[in-house]
């Protein structure tokens, strides 16, 4: 018989994970609307791979398979990988990415709750380093034909017709490689990749993620600290540099509504296992990711820097947590509270 407390709040890891999946739905809906159903194929592929890998690893580690399989954490990792990878990458790329995340980043480190690095971001980082070109082929907005996308994933790769550089990529390439006279405004205005705020179509996907993020906040699954610190830092840095030289640095609207910024703010940075847990630590952690993301996006060699930024800050997590412990009841500094 157990000890006190004798009754518990009806809460479970499973219900937390399921609500995270629900929160991803508006973003996925916008994704399908603008870029076709390929992403659904990738989500299905990633989910099946993740569950299979999870089951095998749990069996090998002698853990109760059904209990842990039903916690939903593998599905969250799988969905995040499917949503951060280009939707028309070949099937085996998604499979390897998911296997890396589940087998290496999660289970080899001790399984649920033990991984020091965000598994989805480990999968993404490995794939973009190993297959940079495949990981940079994104479908053009509005090109929602399913058959060529299906073929791109499973068959012959006739890609030129359907791919296009991402907005971040296009901007960087234009600014870095083209003639020195290229300016942000010039590039953004001339290219069909760009929409009103961010990338064409992408700004709506980002809005969908934002909506899902608000749901997570309302459900108290995440706190405001990380999304606010992440978005605000990105806004301030990009705003400051854009103000300093608008021709060389993209503005905050563009930074926030392209790439994975919105997905990261609410779904990736907020991973509780690998991130900071103290209120102040959360602010520092998310702000650090935003800063590193902006640096990598602006000066680095990769199209988006979120994955690397998250992994770098994951390393610092224990240290930040240690130095940001909130004061304990009765030990608060005098005069701090009135």
């Amino acid at each position: 018989m157990n000890n006190s407390p004798y009754f518990l709040k009806p809460a479970s890891v499973q219900s937390v994970m399921l609500r995270v999946l629900v929160a991803l739905l508006p973003g996925i809906a916008a994704y399908v609307w603008f870029f076709g159903a390929a992403v659904l194929v990738q989500i299905a592929l990633a989910s099946v791979t993740a569950l299979a890998a999870e089951a095998v690893m749990l069996r090998l580690r002698d853990k109760p398979v059904m209990l842990f399989l039903s916690d939903g954490s593998a599905l969250v990792t799988a969905w995040l990988i499917a949503l951060t990878f280009p939707p028309i990458v070949p099937w085996w790329l998604t499979v390897i990415g998911v296997l890396t995340a589940i087998v290496v980043a999660k289970h080899l480190y001790g399984g649920l709750g033990q991984n020091p690095f965000n598994p989805a971001m480990v999968g993404f980082a490995l794939m973009i380093v190993a297959y940079p070109s495949l990981m940079s082929q994104w479908p053009a907005a509005g090109f929602t034909d399913f058959v060529p996308q299906w073929n791109a994933i499973f068959g012959s790769r006739e890609l030129d017709a359907i791919t296009m550089a991402t907005p971040l990529d296009a901007l960087r390439t234009a600014l870095h490689t083209a003639d020195a006279r290229a300016t942000v405004a010039g590039v953004l205005g001339s290219n069909a990749t760009f929409g009103n705020v961010g990338g064409k179509g992408w700004e709506w996907v980002a809005a969908g993620y934002f909506l899902g993020g608000l749901y997570l906040l309302q459900q108290r699954i995440i706190t405001w600290h990380m999304p606010v610190a992440f978005l605000a830092t990105l806004f301030v840095i990009s705003g400051g540099f854009s103000f300093y030289d608008a021709s060389r640095f993209a503005g905050p609207g563009f930074q926030l509504f392209t790439g994975g910024a919105m997905l990261a703010a609410f779904f990736i940075v907020t991973d509780p296992v690998s991130g900071c847990t103290t209120p102040r630590g959360k602010l520092i952690f998310a702000a650090g990711i935003a800063l590193l993301t902006w640096i990598i996006r602006t000066f680095g060699a990769y199209p988006d820097g979120i994955a690397f930024a998250v992994l770098l800050m994951n390393i610092a997590t224990p240290l930040i947590d240690m130095y940001t412990q909130p004061p304990v009841f009765g030990h608060k500094i005098k005069g701090e509270d009135s």
Binding site: S4, P326, F329, G330
Partner: protein, 563 residues
């Protein structure tokens, strides 16, 4: 009064289902006297009281049967008149399932009181008042059973800013304070007035959770009357937001005054002291009526057909109480206290004691076994719920890994074991169990360390002593040989030159003196703690031996015949 009291907030806390209505429908009833009272001698924090009665003795209601022992201890009394049938080990109302010395009284049905006299605390010294309350067995009735006399001390300043009365009663199911305030508010206030006077308290704040409007109303009327009688407005009744654990002493002090009393500090150092409303009632009965603490209000609730509050004599088996309320067929356990912090009883035969605010009957349906424990995902729900502002998951990691030093660095001992963290944990980790484990391990290690320190000191002293003895021996030997050599030399000299020079005589005398000194010193270091005792010391030894024999005699009936 309730009007414009500024309230403060404590962080964290939870809002579980309260389930209080079930037991507030009926007034307090007096539980029948059982056929046998089992009164444990150890019912409060601190030293175990000495038994003052032996088997066969007749006792009166309110007669002291256990005398307070040591600085922190509180007396125990016979709950009714009758015959002591035994003083023996019985199962305690504690989760450990251990037994302790109990006085078994067979009631004679006459319920005959000892002569009762009010205690005139106004003409007594503070020490006399405190001794009186100690011997009247008054302890905190909120559940912690800390001897009240120790807390009725205004501390260094000699006066108190705020006396806090705790009527919050935040644990689900428990309503004993609620009904006591509804039905006996005036008496509680009389106790409050006495306590205020003893503590020289400036103001009195009575905190009651706002889910008890009837109690708030009754206490307001009584407080108004008390204020009118005193001609001031020092006593205020404050309705506080309902949020577990608002009834934690530190949490309530924070809510009412904004003061945070740190772990390990006296609240009187901050000008505050907190008592349960039931304790104020007991103080009144002890001082104004001369009645020691022999009963209390107990809520019987949970898996029963009619939950209710009873006035119960200490020593009444919980089983008898449960039977009064019609336990349902699927009942499978008895819990002392509420569902958040209560203790699982080893058996329903254990007696009601001073700490028993509630007898909660459980079943698998009411308190289902927790779902399987999952790994911690560091979601931080526990930290949000912690009323002590701790990081429970960090303490969990370190407790689990047995890195107790780190657990202590994360302020493990500030944990009040309220259970909020375990209540909200989505991974269903029995967090409080981990903290209890870590705390007891740390205590055990400290005791071990102390024992080791004592042993080491003793060993080092022995080495030191042996070294000293060795040196003394060597000195003696050296002196001896030196003396021998001198002697031989002297004999040779004497043979050669019959007349001894006065110089040589002086040398001889010196040597003799040195020898004397060495001898005397040796006698001095001779371990003499059992010989050469002064009469006082001898008397002391005899007294100790007598006490030992007495204890041996007392323990004899409890020892098995064959050993």
């Amino acid at each position: 009064m309730t009007a414009l009291q500024r309230l403060f907030k404590f962080n964290g806390g939870v809002k579980p289902a309260y389930n209080k209505e079930a037991s507030t429908g009926l007034p307090i009833a007096v539980a029948p006297t059982p056929t046998l009272l089992v009164i444990p001698l150890h019912q409060s924090i601190g030293g175990m009281p000495r038994p003052l009665v032996t088997a066969g003795e007749r006792v009166l209601k309110g007669q002291r049967i256990g005398g307070a022992d040591g600085n922190v201890s509180s007396a125990v009394h016979a709950s009714t008149s009758g015959t002591v049938v035994a003083v023996e080990m019985r199962l305690m109302p504690h989760a450990s399932g251990l037994s302790a010395l109990c006085v078994m009284i067979e009631p004679d049905g006459r319920d005959e009181w000892i002569p009762r006299q009010p205690f005139d605390f106004r003409s007594a010294t503070p020490t006399q008042t405190r001794d009186y309350l100690r011997d009247a067995g008054v302890v905190g009735l909120g559940g912690a059973v800390f001897p009240t006399y120790l807390k009725l001390n205004p501390g260094k300043q000699g006066k108190l800013d705020t006396l806090v009365l705790n009527g919050a009663e935040c644990e689900p199911f428990i309503t004993c304070d609620d009904v006591l305030m509804r039905e006996r508010a005036a008496t509680i206030l009389k106790g409050v007035v006495i306590m205020r006077e003893i503590l020289s308290a400036g103001q009195v704040l009575i905190g009651i959770e706002d889910n008890k409007p009837e109690a708030v109303a009754a206490m307001e009327i009584a407080a108004r009357a008390a204020n009118q009688a005193a001609g001031d407005s020092a006593i205020g009744v404050v309705s506080v937001p309902t949020r577990y654990p608002a009834g934690g002493a530190k949490q309530l002090i924070r809510v009412l005054t904004g003061i945070e009393v740190p772990h390990g500090k006296r609240s009187t150092d901050y000008g505050v002291q907190c008592f349960n409303v039931g304790t104020a009632y007991a103080v009144y009965e002890a001082i104004a009526l001369g009645q020691p603490l022999i009963s209390r209000i107990v809520t019987v609730a949970g898996n029963v057909t009619q939950a209710r509050n009873y006035e119960v004599l200490f020593g009444t088996p919980m089983r008898d109480l449960v039977a009064l309320c019609g336990p349902l067929a699927d009942s499978d356990r008895v819990i002392m206290g509420g569902p958040m912090m209560g203790l699982l009883m080893p058996d329903d035969s254990v007696p009601v004691v001073k700490a028993t605010n509630c007898v909660l009957v459980g079943s698998k349906k009411l308190f289902p076994p927790p779902p399987p424990e999952m790994p911690c995902i560091r979601c931080g729900e526990c930290a949000k719920a912690c009323p002590a502002d701790l990081q429970p998951f960090e303490m969990y990691w370190f407790s689990r890994a047995k890195i107790f030093g780190k657990a202590q660095e994360y302020n493990l001992f500030d944990c009040i074991e309220c259970g909020c963290c375990a209540y909200v944990c989505p991974s269903h980790i029995p967090l409080v169990d981990y903290y209890r484990f870590a705390k007891s391990e740390i205590w055990a290690r400290e005791i071990e360390k102390e024992a080791a320190d004592v042993a080491r000191e003793r060993y080092e002293f022995r080495l030191l002593r042996e070294e000293r003895e060795k040196q003394e021996k060597a000195a003696k030997l050296a002196a001896k040989t030196a003396a021998g050599r001198e002697k031989a030399a002297a004999a040779i000299a004497e043979a050669a030159k019959p007349a001894a020079t006065p110089e040589e005589d002086a040398k001889k005398a010196l040597i003799a003196a040195a020898l004397e000194r060495a001898k005397a010193q040796k006698e001095l270091v001779h371990p003499g703690n059992v010989s050469d005792l002064t009469p006082e010391q001898q008397a002391e030894v005899a007294a100790i031996e007598a006490r030992r024999a007495e204890i041996r005699e007392m323990a004899k009936p409890h020892l098995r015949q064959d050993d």
